[in-house]
C-alpha cells in the first residue's frame, strides 16, 4: 500500500495503456471503414450522405467546442454560406466542375469564419456564444434579403455535375463514395490536428486559458486558427450537402441549426473524435424515423426530451460514456 511507486513504472504503464488504446482505436476505425464502404448496399445512399454531411458538420463544430472550449452559437452561418455559394456557382456556371464549386463554397465559409473569429475571439464564455449568435443572425438576414438565395423558397435544382469532368455524380453511389472520401479525409485531418502540438495547445487553452497565456502562447492566434478551421469544415459540409440534395435553404442558416449541431455533439460525446459522428447519426436517424412513424407529430418534444436526458444523465455523451465504462472495466 505504502510502497513508493517508481515513476518509470507509471511511465511504462501509461505507454502500454497508450499502445493498447491505439490498437483498439485502429480496430474500431477499421471496422467502421468497412461498414461505411458496404453501407449503401443495405441503406439508402442519400440518407447515408445526409448522415455524413451532418457528421462532418458536427466534427467541425466539436473541434472548436470539444477541443478548444469555445461554444459557437453561430455555426449555421458557415453551413449555409458553403451551401449557397456552391449552389449558386454550380447553377450559374455550368462549365465549373463540381469540385471547384465545393472548394469555392468552402473558401467563402473560411473567409466568413475569419471575420467571425476576428470579431468574437476576445469575448469570454457566454459573451462569445452570444456574439457568434448575433453575427449568424446578421448573416441570416443577408441570406433572407439576397435575391440569389431564393429567399424563403430556397435554391433548387442545383446540378450535381461531374467530378473532375470524369465521374458523373448524378449516380447516387458515385456521389456517396465521393462524400465518404471527403468525409474520411476531413476526419483524419481533425484527428491529426487534435493529436498535433497545435492540438495540445488548444486543449491547454480549454483547460486553463490564463496558464496557456502565461506559458507564452499567443492564445488568440491559436483560437482564431481553430475557429477558421472549424468554419471551413462546416462550410465544406454545407457545400457537399447542397450538391447531394441539389438544394440549399434558409433552414441551414437558422439558429435552430446552430442548436442542433450542439445537440449532436453533446449526445455523441463532445471532446471525443468519434462522438460527433455518432451523435449526428443518432439525431438524424431519430428525426427521420420519428417524422415517418406514428409519433410524427411529436418530433420536437421527443428531441427536447433527448436534450434533457443527455444533460441530466449522459453528460459525456454516448461515446464518452462508453469510454468511461471501458476504462472502468477494462483497466
Amino acid at each position: 500500500m505504502n510502497q513508493p511507486i517508481k515513476s518509470t513504472d507509471i511511465h511504462q504503464s501509461i505507454l502500454d495503456d497508450q499502445k493498447s488504446q491505439d490498437r483498439r482505436k485502429m480496430m474500431i476505425n477499421g471496422v467502421l471503414l468497412l461498414v461505411l464502404l458496404a453501407a449503401p448496399l443495405a441503406i439508402y445512399p442519400v440518407f447515408l450522405m445526409k448522415i455524413l454531411c451532418f457528421s462532418l458538420f458536427a466534427v467541425a463544430f466539436n473541434l472548436l467546442f470539444g477541443f478548444t472550449g469555445l461554444l459557437s452559437f453561430g455555426h449555421a452561418a458557415f453551413l449555409a454560406a458553403g451551401g449557397y455559394t456552391t449552389g449558386y456557382l454550380l447553377s450559374n456556371y455550368s462549365g465549373l466542375g463540381t469540385e471547384m464549386g465545393i472548394i469555392a463554397g468552402t473558401l467563402v465559409a473560411t473567409g466568413l469564419g475569419l471575420a467571425f473569429a476576428l470579431l468574437s475571439i476576445r469575448r469570454q464564455g457566454i459573451y462569445f456564444a452570444m456574439v457568434t449568435l448575433a453575427l449568424a443572425q446578421l448573416v441570416f438576414f443577408f441570406f433572407v434579403q439576397s435575391e440569389f438565395t431564393g429567399g424563403e423558397d430556397g435554391m433548387h435544382g442545383i446540378p450535381r455535375g461531374e467530378l473532375f469532368g470524369l465521374v458523373s455524380l448524378e449516380d447516387n453511389l458515385n456521389m456517396y463514395y465521393f462524400v465518404l472520401a471527403v468525409f474520411i479525409a476531413c476526419y483524419l485531418l481533425v484527428q491529426r490536428v487534435v493529436g498535433s502540438p497545435f492540438g495540445q495547445v488548444l486543449k491547454a487553452i480549454k483547460q486553463n486559458e490564463p496558464r496557456a497565456v502565461s506559458l507564452g502562447y499567443n492564445v488568440d492566434r491559436y483560437k482564431i486558427l481553430a475557429f477558421v478551421l472549424s468554419a471551413a469544415l462546416a462550410g465544406l459540409a454545407g457545400s457537399m450537402k447542397s450538391v447531394v440534395f441539389q438544394l440549399a435553404s434558409l433552414n441551414d442558416a437558422h439558429w435552430h441549426m446552430s442548436g442542433e449541431v450542439i445537440l449532436m455533439t453533446l449526445v455523441g460525446g463532445m471532446g471525443t473524435l468519434l462522438g460527433p459522428v455518432v451523435g449526428a447519426t443518432f439525431v438524424v436517424n431519430v428525426e427521420y424515423q420519428l417524422s415517418q412513424g406514428p409519433l410524427r407529430d411529436w418530433v420536437d418534444p421527443i428531441l427536447g426530451a433527448i436534450f434533457v436526458l443527455t444533460v441530466l444523465a449522459f453528460r459525456s455523451g454516448i461515446v464518452g460514456e462508453i469510454q468511461k465504462f471501458m476504462r472502468r472495466n477494462l483497466s
Binding site: 439508402y44 442519400v46 440518407f47 445526409k50 455550368s94 433572407v144 434579403q145 431564393g150 429567399g151 424563403e152 423558397d153 430556397g154 433548387h156 435544382g157 450537402k241 440534395f245 441539389q246 438544394l247 435553404s249 434558409l250 433552414n251 441551414d252 428525426e287 427521420y288 417524422s291 415517418q292 410524427r296 407529430d297 411529436w298 418530433v299 420536437d300
Partner: protein, 403 residues
C-alpha cells in the same frame, strides 16, 4: 435551354413508357405519400387533419382501385426542404410511392416537385400559395390544386377597388411569398384604376404590428392590404382592430386568410374583412354534408386545403381506375382530360402547366350578429369564374406551355 431539352427527352421517354407500361398498376399497389407540416406554423391549415381528409377519400373510393390495394404513408416535412426531399427521395426511389399529396410550404413543394420529375412520379400540391409552382417552377410531374397568390390578389383587390377603395397601403411579409403577392396586388389595383400609395415590408415573422399599423394609418390610404399569411396576418388584424383602423374609415383587405385563421380571430375582430377563398364549408348541401363527416373525424371544420386534399385524392384514384395504371404521365393526362365538378370544385380543369383552375369565391367575414356559431364565419359575396381567376396561360413562363 437545357431545361427544354430535358423536358423533351422526358416527354419522349414518358411517351414510350406510357406505351409500354400502360394498363398496369406496379406491384399491384397504389401507394400515396402524405407530406405536410405536422408540427409547425402551417400545421392547422393542412397537417394531421389533411391526412384524415386523404383517408376519407380512400375510404369513399372503396379502399381498392381495380383490385389493387391503396396504401398510405405519411411524414412531417418539418417545413424544411431538406427533410422533405430526403423523405420523398426515399419514398419514390425505395418504397415505390406513386403519388405525393399534401405539400404546404412553397420551398418544400418546389424541392419535392424536382425529385418527382427526376423519378417520374406524381405530386398534387394542395397547401402552397406560390403561383410560381406552376409558372417558372412547373414540371410535368405535379399539379397545383387549391389556390395560389394570383386569384387571391385578383379576387380581393379588384373587388375592393371597384367598391371605391382607390388608394392602397400594403403590409408585405418580407419573403418570396409576400413579394409575389405584393406584385400581384399592385398590378390588379392599378389595372382597376386604383393606386398603391405606400407599402412597408415587415420581417417574417413579426409579432408586434403596432408600428406598421401606425404607418398605414398615417398614410391616409383608403385600404390597408395585408400581403402576409398565418400568424402575421392574425396579429396584424388584431392590432388593426385595437388601433381602430376600421373605425377611422380605412378598409382592411387580407389577401390570404384560412378559415382556421378567421376562427382564431373570431367574428368580433375579423368582421367585415373581405377575402378570396377556393371553397367554404357552408356553401351548399354537398359541402355541408362532407364537412359534417369531416368534423366527426377531426372535431373542426375543414379549410379549403382539407377539402382540396379530399377532392384531389378522389380525382387521382378515378384516373388510376380509368387508365388502369399508376404511371404518372398516364394518370396526369387522364386527370387533365377529366373536368372536375364535385363537392370541392365547380368548372374545374387541370391545365397543361399543372394548374387546376376552378371557380373562386369572394367572401366577407360575418358580424357577430350574423354569425350563428363558432364556425359560421363567411358570407359568399360573389363567384369569380375559373377562366378569370387564375393567371392566363398567355402570361405563363412555364416551359410546358406553348407560347
Amino acid at each position: 435551354m437545357t431545361m427544354t431539352k430535358k423536358l423533351l427527352t422526358s416527354a419522349v421517354a414518358s411517351a414510350l413508357m406510357v406505351g409500354a407500361a400502360q394498363a398496369e398498376i406496379t406491384d399491384n399497389t397504389v401507394k400515396i405519400g402524405y407530406l405536410a407540416d405536422m408540427s409547425g406554423t402551417y400545421r392547422d391549415l393542412a397537417g394531421p387533419n389533411g391526412l384524415a381528409a386523404l383517408e376519407m377519400a380512400i375510404k369513399d373510393f372503396g379502399g381498392k382501385v381495380n383490385g389493387a390495394k391503396i396504401e398510405v404513408v405519411s411524414a412531417d416535412d418539418r417545413n424544411s426542404p431538406d427533410a422533405a426531399s430526403s423523405t420523398v427521395r426515399r419514398w419514390v426511389e425505395n418504397d415505390n410511392v406513386d403519388m405525393v399529396a399534401g405539400l404546404v410550404a412553397s420551398s418544400v413543394s418546389i424541392a419535392v416537385s424536382k425529385i418527382l420529375e427526376e423519378n417520374d412520379k406524381l405530386g398534387i400540391v394542395s397547401g402552397s400559395a406560390a403561383s410560381s409552382i406552376t409558372n417558372e417552377h412547373c414540371t410535368p410531374n405535379h399539379i397545383h390544386y387549391v389556390y395560389d397568390t394570383y386569384p387571391l390578389a385578383n379576387g380581393t383587390a379588384s373587388a375592393v377597388v371597384k367598391e371605391g377603395g382607390q388608394s392602397w397601403y400594403l403590409l408585405t411579409a418580407d419573403y418570396a411569398f409576400g413579394h409575389a403577392l405584393e406584385g400581384d396586388v399592385t398590378r390588379v389595383v392599378e389595372e382597376n384604376g386604383g393606386e398603391v400609395i405606400g407599402k412597408v415590408r415587415h420581417p417574417f415573422p413579426t409579432q408586434d404590428f403596432s408600428s406598421f399599423i401606425l404607418q398605414a394609418q398615417a398614410s391616409g390610404a383608403d385600404v390597408v392590404g395585408l400581403a402576409n399569411a398565418g400568424a402575421d396576418t392574425t396579429n396584424a388584424i388584431n392590432t388593426a382592430s385595437e388601433f381602430g383602423v376600421t373605425q377611422s374609415g380605412q378598409t382592411l383587405a387580407a389577401l390570404l386568410l384560412f378559415l382556421t385563421d378567421v376562427h382564431a380571430l373570431g367574428a368580433e375582430t375579423a368582421q367585415g374583412i373581405q377575402l378570396t377563398t377556393g371553397w367554404y364549408w357552408d356553401m351548399n348541401d354537398e359541402t355541408r354534408e362532407w364537412s359534417d363527416r369531416f368534423m366527426e373525424e377531426t372535431g373542426v371544420r375543414p379549410t379549403m386545403v382539407h377539402a382540396g386534399i379530399y377532392s384531389s385524392t378522389l380525382q387521382y384514384l378515378n384516373a388510376v381506375a380509368a387508365t388502369g395504371s399508376d404511371n404518372a404521365q398516364a394518370v396526369r393526362e387522364q386527370m387533365m382530360d377529366t373536368p372536375i365538378n364535385d363537392m370541392f370544385a365547380k368548372n374545374g380543369r387541370i391545365r397543361e402547366d399543372g394548374r387546376m383552375v376552378h371557380d373562386m369565391y369572394l367572401a366577407e367575414v360575418k358580424t357577430p350578429a350574423e354569425s350563428s356559431s363558432d364556425w359560421d364565419l363567411y358570407k359568399i359575396l360573389r363567384t369569380i369564374p375559373a377562366d378569370q381567376a387564375y393567371r392566363p396561360l398567355s402570361e405563363s413562363k412555364c416551359d410546358l406551355v406553348n407560347n
